[in-house]
């Protein structure tokens, strides 16, 4: 920045300490002549006075003396404050705000692991408590290892354009030519967070945020596969999901890959849009959960000899609903944090995103509660919890693009959908999913992806464009049918490619490692055979539920 840059005009002048007027305060004088922009110089800055030491020595209970010109870092103490210092400080402040915002929201998402652990463990039987908890615990480390080694690079290695700031080295994307257009398939920078210039402050922030998202996807699978998954197979499967499957789809949607470019290359709206991951995180986890649950087969006693489903209730609804609350809390990191910014480029929409998130969760839980109450005569607690999660899953993709009415409709629909889907998966597919993960994350994740193409209202503005297409993301109900088609292609890819990739790999794991524990271990409960210690060693575990007692489980 040159001294006296004319682009810096007199609007900075009121920043002189103690003289700043309120933004909309009427001017004392009312000149009729138009205001003339006066370039600022370094000399003008010399006149800006901060609070004196004796004033500061008295303390600052009102907070009016803290955070002034005295706190602006100068590059050369002899020259004093210059315009360059001021402008660089402004830039660093913006990036700092974005870093802190993204890190804190990332920490919230990390804590969701505890919520998943409680929900899944509570919905399983006490004899499998330690095993289920341990899977939820180790999925964090196993997924992180895979993602650090290669997953992050494959996903974000070509995503230099993200709004966080400071991630320029992520500029390598492997592309192939399909139908005359470049299709980005995976990134090539960022392996081990050192290769390709990726030892970078911004990339570290981005890694942390993306890593906890990936871990959310991997922990979805442990719920559907609970009570019968061999621990060694779980580790291998998680490594693959964190290293390959999740990052590939993540690249196609968020890393500059082919799905995100459907708008630029083929004129389909703004390309595939998934603001915070109904598809990338939840449907990827849900599709993988479906693949693993199909390969594993149902638990012993889940179905009678004629294929009729038995209920196998979990052991602690208190854990389940506490876990749901923790997840709902973490979702305030998941969705608003996906702006990757709190300053600039329309990031002030974070409030709207947070409100849409909480509303969709609320309508989801209400819808599931009402559905179960009307259908079965009681407001089922576990399905009310799943309804909350279903609403949150569904709003995750559209949260950055929809208004509150759209959010409520999306959440309510998800709450009903999850109840219908649980019955479909259990009674028609006859796939055993102890926690309803396939329905909550798979079915409602797909619904969330589609809902962007319906309800995006065209009011968001994240720097004037999205996925290299100018303007706001707009759905079918607001005038852009092309967006709906792009979302459909995302759904087809989730079910067609992500499911298949997970199915093929986990079939290989089944052949090599073996996915399922022995019948003896399963009947005994996995805590001792797999973990070597009971989750509740001082309890005597007795089967009391009639259907389980009849089935001998």
């Amino acid at each position: 920045m040159e001294e006296g840059d004319p682009s810096l005009v007199a609007f900075l002048a009121p920043a002189v300490w103690g003289q700043a007027p309120a933004p909309n305060a009427p001017s004392a004088a009312a000149p009729s002549a138009p205001a003339v922009a006066v370039p600022l110089t370094d000399q003008d800055l010399k006149k800006v006075a901060g609070p004196k030491p004796e004033e500061l020595a008295k303390g600052d209970p009102g907070g009016t003396l803290t955070g002034t010109v005295n706190d602006v870092v100068v590059s050369d103490s002899k020259k004093g404050l210059t315009l360059s210092d001021l402008v660089n400080q402004a830039g660093q402040n913006r990036v700092a705000i974005n870093f802190v915002w993204t890190l804190i929201t990332g920490y919230l998402v990390m804590f969701m692991q505890a919520g998943f652990a409680l929900v899944e463990t509570g919905l399983c039987r006490a004899k499998n408590a330690s095993h289920t908890m341990m899977m939820n615990f180790m999925v964090y480390g196993a997924g992180m290892l895979a993602y650090w080694v290669m997953g992050f690079a494959l996903q974000m290695g070509g995503s230099a354009g993200v709004g966080l700031g400071g991630v320029a080295p992520l500029s390598g994307e492997f592309t192939v030519n399909v139908l005359g257009k470049p299709w980005g398939l995976f990134g090539t920078h960022g392996f081990f967070l050192t290769q390709g210039g990726s030892y970078d402050v911004g990339i570290m922030v981005l890694f942390l945020f993306q890593m906890v998202f990936m871990d959310t996807a991997t922990t979805i699978v442990t719920g559907a596969a609970a009570e019968r998954w061999k621990f060694a197979a779980f580790i291998v499967s998680t490594l693959f999901l964190g290293a390959i499957t999740y990052p590939l789809y993540g690249n196609w949607a968020w890393g500059g890959g082919w799905l995100s470019q459907l708008g630029k290359n083929y004129g389909l709206g703004h390309g595939y849009c998934d603001f915070a991951g109904s598809g990338v995180v939840h449907a990827v986890g849900g599709m993988t959960a479906l693949a693993v649950a199909m390969i594993l087969g149902p638990r012993i006693g889940k179905y009678t000899r004629d294929g009729k489903a038995n209920a196998i209730p979990g052991h602690d609804i208190v854990l389940v609903l506490t876990g749901c609350f923790i997840l709902a809390f973490g979702w305030f990191g998941f969705n608003p944090g996906s702006t990757l910014a709190a300053s600039g480029n329309g990031a002030l929409r974070i409030g709207s995103i947070a409100v849409s998130t909480m509303l969709a969760g609320m309508t989801g839980s209400f819808a599931a509660m009402l559905y179960m109450w009307i259908r079965f005569g009681k407001p089922d607690a576990s399905m009310s919890g799943n309804g909350l999660l279903a609403g949150l899953v569904a709003i995750t993709a559209p949260s950055g693009f929809v208004n509150t009415v759209g959010a409520c409709i999306i959440g309510f629909t998800a709450g009903v959908l999850v109840c219908l889907s649980v019955e479909f998966v259990e009674k028609i597919l006859k796939v055993d999913d102890p926690v309803g993960a396939i329905s909550v994350h798979g079915a409602c994740g797909l619904w969330g992806v589609l809902s962007v193409g319906l309800f995006a209202d065209g009011t968001s503005n994240y720097g004037g464009s999205w996925n290299n297409v100018d303007g706001s993301v707009t759905g079918l109900f607001y005038g852009d049918p092309g967006q709906f088609v792009a979302q459909f292609m995302g759904v087809a890819t989730l079910v067609g490619v992500v499911f298949t990739l997970s199915y093929v790999f986990n079939t290989l794991v089944d052949v090599v490692v073996g996915q399922r524990v022995s019948a003896r271990s399963e009947l005994q409960g996995l805590d001792l055979p797999e973990m070597g210690a009971l989750g509740y060693p001082e309890f005597q575990l007795v089967t009391t539920h009639p259907s389980q007692a009849a089935a001998g489980v």
């Binding site: 087969g297 012993i300 889940k302 179905y303 597919l429 088609v485 087809a492 499911f499 298949t500 399922r516």
Partner: protein, 64 residues
Amino acid sequence: MKLAGVIVIIGGWLIATVVALQVASLRGKLALNVIGIAVVLYGLVGLLNRAHLKTAIWKGGRPH
């Protein structure tokens, strides 16, 4: 039958994406999307899952 299921699923995805992108009209693209997803679901539910149910545990199949 499992292999057939996987092949049909991939075929459905190709219809919904690569083939659909070659059609000029938006309605045509959407129609191919729907057809492609229907094919994917047939492969998943009608072929692949049915193959797994043939050896379901309550029918005397696994666990080992």
